[in-house]
């Protein structure tokens, strides 16, 4: 790549990716917790896909029972730590808080949850599991949020479970795919460790083979997530300096990557924002986001958009890339304006000089892998399941997370995994004979 900016020192990296939500001090947490009205059948609990009993864990913070608070969270959501940091709370629990109607700030549920989880993980973390050993063995393909949640649910019931992941580290996108200022790999790995201490086995750096797993295990959970980012299908996308957003984020978090002086991101989803803000913090002087529709249609949450604006990301609405120019490496990107009907406006082409292009236009489906899972049905590339149980068309296979919902939040994957874990346990029970 041409014109790469120097990499950051360890200290500089830590400073630029400092946590976006600082933790509560103990007393401040107690005061905030006391503000909670303790609603009955609380809307925040309903809004949470994993239905964490929010008032219950908050009142435990107020009472000074932090371990009890953490266990109340983990009971519903074993990834309570990462969710407390990455959940878009504005459109979940905090968005549903009745305090809004009371003309007051909603309770800072996310930060309170983090307070309880931080305490838990710094005091010999452990969660209770069944004392007896249940029959049946389950393989989870993928060791991301959905599989971790599924595994925890199975381990609580004493069912043996093995998670298989192709990456060297478990945790899936929690480890590799979330903006560093929201969640660090070390925190994601704490949760992996918790599931390990519950008795789950991890096989990492291994390609799962559904054909053989089917013979070895009584049930299989597909928590495989999605594949690489869709290709742009424009000239120049194989030039040096074009990096898939998912790859880019994984590399800067777990290895190192140098960014160009000027970076162009294609797409305006939450991942695109993560990539853009990362590029900026890694030292890029200019970061552009191209999006073929307008500001209103942008899929990123408002909260993410705000972060991007604070990081001086330049947005180009109604703009689509036409081709990437450069001899060996990226030098410029040519764009065209789009009209309301998403048709290019003739003669509106313009170029942005840049050294790096990061496409972030959604991930491909892992159709090849899924097609090897005998009897599992796909709909538009997504695994079709029974929503309550996670069971697929082949009763032995269950699924959840991004491969089912097409790519949503961590908490959605956890909710899927949890339902599937319960579903598998029930199914194993019924088929014990």
């Amino acid at each position: 790549m041409r014109d790469a900016v120097p990499s950051l020192s360890k200290e500089e990296f830590a400073a630029r990716f400092a946590e976006i939500h600082p933790p509560f001090a103990h007393q401040a947490a107690a005061v905030e917790a006391s503000r909670c009205l303790f609603c009955f059948d609380a809307p925040c609990t309903i809004a949470c896909p994993t239905h964490i009993d929010v008032p219950r864990f908050i009142k435990k913070i107020a009472s000074g029972n932090l371990r009890g608070s953490a266990l109340a969270i983990l009971e519903s959501n074993v990834l309570g730590l990462s969710c407390s940091r990455v959940c878009p709370v504005d459109v979940l629990c905090e968005g549903s808080c009745v305090m809004h109607r009371y003309n007051k700030q909603p309770i800072e549920i996310g930060r309170l949850q983090r307070h309880a989880m931080d305490y838990f993980y710094s005091h010999n973390p452990s969660v209770p599991i069944a004392k007896s050993v249940a029959r049946g063995s389950v393989a989870c393909i993928g060791a991301g949020p959905a599989s971790l949640a599924c595994a925890a649910e199975l381990r609580r019931r004493g069912i043996s479970v093995t998670l298989i992941d192709k990456n060297p580290l478990a945790g899936g996108l929690n480890t590799y795919g979330i903006a560093e200022y929201k969640l660090r790999p070390a925190d994601s790995l704490k949760e992996v460790e918790l599931v390990r201490t519950m008795g789950a086995e991890f096989k990492v750096g291994v390609e799962a083979k559904p054909e053989s797993l089917e013979k070895e295990y009584d049930a299989i959970f597909l928590g495989v997530g999605l594949g690489s980012t869709h290709r742009l299908k424009i000239p120049g996308e194989d030039l040096n300096g074009v990096v898939d957003a998912i790859q880019f984020i994984a590399q800067y978090k777990t290895a190192s990557i140098r960014v160009g002086r000027r970076v162009v991101i294609i797409g305006a989803g939450n991942t695109a924002i993560d990539a853009a803000t990362a590029a900026r913090r890694l030292g890029a002087e200019e970061v552009h986001i191209l999006y073929r529709r307008g500001e209103i249609e942008m899929p990123a949450f408002d909260y993410e958009y705000e972060i991007a604006k604070l990081d001086s990301i330049e947005f180009h609405w109604n703009t689509q890339p036409v081709r990437i120019l450069g001899t060996k490496s990226v030098e410029r990107i040519e764009c065209v304006r789009m009209d309301k009907n998403l048709s290019p406006v003739a003669g509106s082409n313009f170029q942005i000089p840049c050294e790096m292009v990061i496409p972030s236009i959604g991930q491909t489906k892992l159709v090849e892998l899924l097609s090897r899972c005998h009897g599992v049905e796909l709909r538009e590339g997504r695994v079709a399941i029974n929503r309550e149980t996670g069971q697929t068309a082949n009763p032995k296979y269950f699924a959840g997370g991004d491969c089912v919902n097409g790519g949503r939040e961590v908490v959605d994957a956890v909710a899927d995994g949890k339902r599937a874990g319960t579903g598998i346990a029930k199914w194993l029970e019924a088929h014990r004979g």
Partner: protein, 448 residues
């Protein structure tokens, strides 16, 4: 503009009814003068007597939901400064602040001469009145003083009589609440010739136990002792005792109200139950003398709004409204109504009614709270939540607004008390169509 000028027991004049109670804020001349500069109308000097030795620590408190010092407990004794110094400072304060009230709180051994001497010396120093500390419940009581006197009507009467033999200024007896019926001691004080009563002193208390050391608070080298409890938490107890005295012809004397007063509203309530002045200690300890500014301002504004020109215009106004239960109208009926516009959907009234009252508030479509929870927890929800559930943008969904079964509602007030939203739940009178009848009337009638 309201006139807050106060004349206590016909003889103690001061610019307003707000006095510092005998305690740490009125420990020395400097404090009292700074308090007068801030606007306080009077001060009851920290109890004079033979100087004692105090311990450290001395205070502990009860916090409520992050709010500090809802209740305060102390094991501090009377003044630890030489009597001469205190008297000299009283003299100085009175010289500089002739229009403010300085009352000397007194506590000495139960010997006639000792009382005569301290009364004379205090009055010579210029005190406008005397307050006999028969209330201090800790430390001094172990030495036969304070509440040890105040708990025995005969002692109380005897010492009051001794004091009255020499006193030229009004004598107030400060009562302890640590008795079964405060009126017995109040009557004794009146018989002894007291000119007024101060109520209440602090309540025997242990504020809490440290869950690591297992020692109650406050710690003194690994041990603790019971203390005296005060602060906002004790106000209802104090109000009741004040009402008991003020409503009892045999103990009725001018009362200086004490106990949990932290603002003008509290003060107004004590005055409505008959007090001529009020005394504060915890509140100035918590926030400083400056709190008196809003007490003066707030009470004046309220009096203007109500059309009261002087304190006497509303003093004791609420006494006729306190009666015995047997006189309450059994046929008075109110029921709860929930405003659909104001309800925020917290459903606290619903669960309070189910678990703590009479099961007459309902959520449409669910037989029990457990059914409701079960349905909610089994909902499959995705991020982001549906726009209509985003509370910032929309009105409360009708499903979350509880319904009162008006036939079953007993009008207990619980839902209204738990509702966090002002004027969302209102208790409304319904015409029972039956004339007023009290328990006494009903049972009296049935006897005929």
């Amino acid at each position: 503009m309201a006139d807050l000028t106060t004349l206590f027991a016909g003889r103690i004049r001061c610019p307003n009814p707000f006095w510092l109670a005998s305690g740490p804020p009125a420990n020395c001349g400097d404090q009292v003068m700074r308090a007068f500069d801030a606007g306080w109308g009077g001060a009851v000097w920290k109890t004079l007597g033979e100087p004692i030795t105090n311990v450290s620590s001395r205070y502990s408190s009860v916090d409520l939901n992050g709010v500090r010092m809802m209740g305060l407990n102390n094991i501090e004794l009377i003044t630890d400064r030489p009597l001469d110094v205190n008297l000299r400072e009283i003299y100085e304060v009175k010289k500089r602040y002739p229009h403010h009230a300085v009352i000397a709180s007194l506590m000495v051994d139960s010997k006639r001469e000792a009382w005569h001497e301290i009364v004379r010396r205090s009055e010579d120093a210029g005190a406008d009145g005397l307050e006999l500390n028969f209330g201090c419940p800790h430390g001094m009581s172990e030495r036969g003083m304070g509440s040890a006197v105040g708990q025995v009507p005969e002692y109380c009467q005897m010492i009051t009589e001794w004091v009255k033999e020499v006193a030229k200024t009004p004598v107030l007896v400060k009562l302890t609440p640590n008795v079964t019926d405060i009126r017995h001691v109040a009557r004794a004080a009146k018989k002894g010739g007291a000119d007024g009563l101060s109520a209440i002193n602090t309540i025997n208390s242990i504020t809490g136990v440290d869950l690591d050391t297992f020692v109650p608070r406050p710690f003194v080298d690994g041990k603790s002792a019971h203390g005296g409890y005060c602060g906002p938490a004790v106000k209802p107890i104090a109000l009741h005792m004040v009402q008991q005295i003020a409503g009892d012809p045999e103990s009725s004397l001018p009362v200086s109200g004490i106990g949990g007063i932290s603002g003008w509203r509290d003060a107004a309530e004590f005055i409505l139950l008959g007090c001529q002045s009020v005394q504060l200690c915890t509140a100035p300890m918590h926030y400083g003398f400056r709190i008196v500014e809003d007490m003066i301002d707030g009470l004046s504004n309220w009096m203007d709004e109500k059309g009261f020109r002087t304190i006497d215009d509303f003093r004791g106004r609420s006494l006729p409204n306190v009666t015995e239960w047997k006189h309450l109208n059994l046929n008075y009926k109110i029921i709860a109504r929930i405003s659909h516009d104001k309800c925020i959907g917290c459903d606290l009234c619903y669960i309070a009614c189910w678990d703590g009252a009479h099961q007459c508030i309902h959520i449409e479509g669910f037989k029990t709270p457990e059914d409701l929870l079960k349905a909610s927890r089994s909902r499959i929800v995705l991020t982001p939540v549906e726009k209509h559930e985003m509370t910032g943008l929309h009105a409360t969904p009708p499903i979350r607004i509880p319904r009162v079964d008006e036939d079953e509602c007993v009008g207990c007030n619980l839902c209204w008390l738990v509702c966090p939203v002002e004027e969302c739940i209102t208790m409304e009178r319904v015409d029972s169509g039956v004339p007023s009848q009290s328990w006494e009337q009903r049972t009296g009638a049935s006897k005929c």
